[in-house]
Amino acid sequence: MNFANSYGKLFISFKQYLIQITKDAMLFIICLAPLMCGVLFKFGIPAAEKLIILEPYYLLFDLLLAVLTPMMISYVSSMVILGDIDEGITKYMAVTPLGKSGYLISKLVFPLFASFFITIIVMMIFSLTKIDLMQIIGISILTSLLGLIMSMMVISISANKVEGMAVIKLSGITMIGIPAAFLTAQNVQYLFFFLPSLWVAKFSIEYSLIYFVLCIALSSVWILFFIKKFLKKIY
């Protein structure tokens, strides 16, 4: 009974999150971005092949697609949460039966779960290379984690929604590890060792569990680094 209740509340709050997205044209369009990019990559890139050779970079395009969904969803969550902070909602949620953790689960964790599944689907439909499902799942877990880190970073650093938009653009830099893994020499790559995004790319290229574990460990460090500031910001 109590169990059902608290789950019910999480879904009510998640529904509210979806309503908030539909009330904001920009956020709504962002949610469609992975789909549009998927179509563009899937059909545009092979077509562009006639002009330049892109085949060696197909995996890179696939990875960009794999980070796109978590990034966009992380962007949307950050905007919704920053908006809630501006309006004093997050503080108020802490004194309702939803609670602090319920709020964060419904507006940050649920969306990232969704992004995990959407990424898998998007990859299965649109990927240019033949990656096996297990690897797709692995990649999706890691990229969703990147999304979480990005949201925590953006929310911790920005004072309000307007600042958040600027910070989000900057935070995209943390994704540089992905092209770096493809486009730079081995020894240069290791300059980016602190970026989880590098290890996501390494994991996709070499499909070795070591990189997966490394990426999880590194992401945890990032999360621990931001968590205190992040929680303080919310309440």
Partner: protein, 280 residues
């Protein structure tokens, strides 16, 4: 209902909150103090927002720092600043916040009507005035019919008419047996509403009693009279010592008093006397 024992808290190293008090069920307990005294901070401790305090703060037999989420089913909070979805209408806001509780809710339209917002329920909150937001925020705290209400300056920024309406609602809630903690700068409101008031300055309670007792024990009523003595003059004397005022006697005997007023000290005067600082 509320028991605070050796509570201490500081935002940084400097000790800030340091107090003891208790509130009985069905009481309206007021916190008065100048800006920055720590009234909102205390509310944040009692509502479980700040959990890093020392000592005990027990509300409804539960230590504040270990509140579980369902504890909030019985607590209503009206923060000092409104917390509302600007893009939703007033009614949508109430419906949404209400849906977070498992309890039976009060009727939304009735609540809107109580604070004179019956015609604005369909308007977006972004189109509300400041006072309308305060009123909506206030009824949001009543929505789930909580046993304990924490109200942070509920009447600040309201016109006298709406302020009156809010005060009546507060009194009404008390009559239903609710326990109410409120903070205010307004001595007149405090005198009228509160069973007990605590004066806080710099996080400490400087005095705690019923408004009536505070006024009676600390101050004495005075009379002020004016008369012509070449030009108009004003004098004061204690109400209990009129027989010792020769001038007054003389004026009365010769029918020369122009005006005479008695005045009880207000809570404001008592506050100034006890704390050495001025409120308004």
């Amino acid at each position: 209902m509320i028991e605070v024992i050796d509570l201490s808290f500081s935002y940084n190293d400097r000790p800030f909150i340091d107090m003891n008090f208790s509130v009985k069920k069905g009481e309206i307990f007021g916190f008065l103090g100048p800006s920055g005294a720590g009234k909102s901070t205390l509310q944040k401790i009692l509502t479980g927002l700040i959990r890093s305090y020392k000592g005990n703060a027990i509300v409804n037999k539960t230590e504040c720092k270990s509140y579980k989420d369902d504890f909030y089913e019985n607590i209503g909070v009206d923060f000092e600043f409104p917390s509302l979805y600007e893009k939703l209408t007033g009614r949508e806001n109430l419906k949404f916040f209400g849906s977070l509780y498992s309890k039976k809710l009060r009727d939304v339209d009735e609540l809107l009507k109580m604070v004179g917002l019956q015609n604005d329920g369909g308007k977006k909150v972004s189109e509300y005035s400041k006072g309308m937001k305060s009123r909506l925020n206030f009824i949001k705290a009543l929505l789930h019919n909580p046993d304990i209400l924490f109200l942070d300056e509920p009447t600040s920024g309201l016109d006298p008419n709406n302020s009156r309406i809010m005060k009546n609602i507060i009194i009404n809630e008390k009559e239903k047996g609710k326990t109410i903690i409120l903070t205010t700068h307004n001595m007149v409101d405090a005198t009228e509403l509160c069973d007990k008031v605590a004066f806080i300055v710099d996080g400490n309670i400087k005095a705690l009693d019923s408004p009536h007792n505070l006024i009676m024990s600390k101050g004495a009523a005075k009379i002020k009279y004016t008369f012509m003595d070449g030009k108009e003059e004003i004098r004061e004397c204690m109400l209990g010592k009129t027989s010792e005022d020769a001038k007054l006697q003389e004026l009365i005997m010769s029918n020369r008093i122009l005006s005479i007023h008695s005045s009880e000290p207000t809570l404001n005067d008592i506050f100034a006397e006890v704390t050495g600082s001025v409120l308004q």
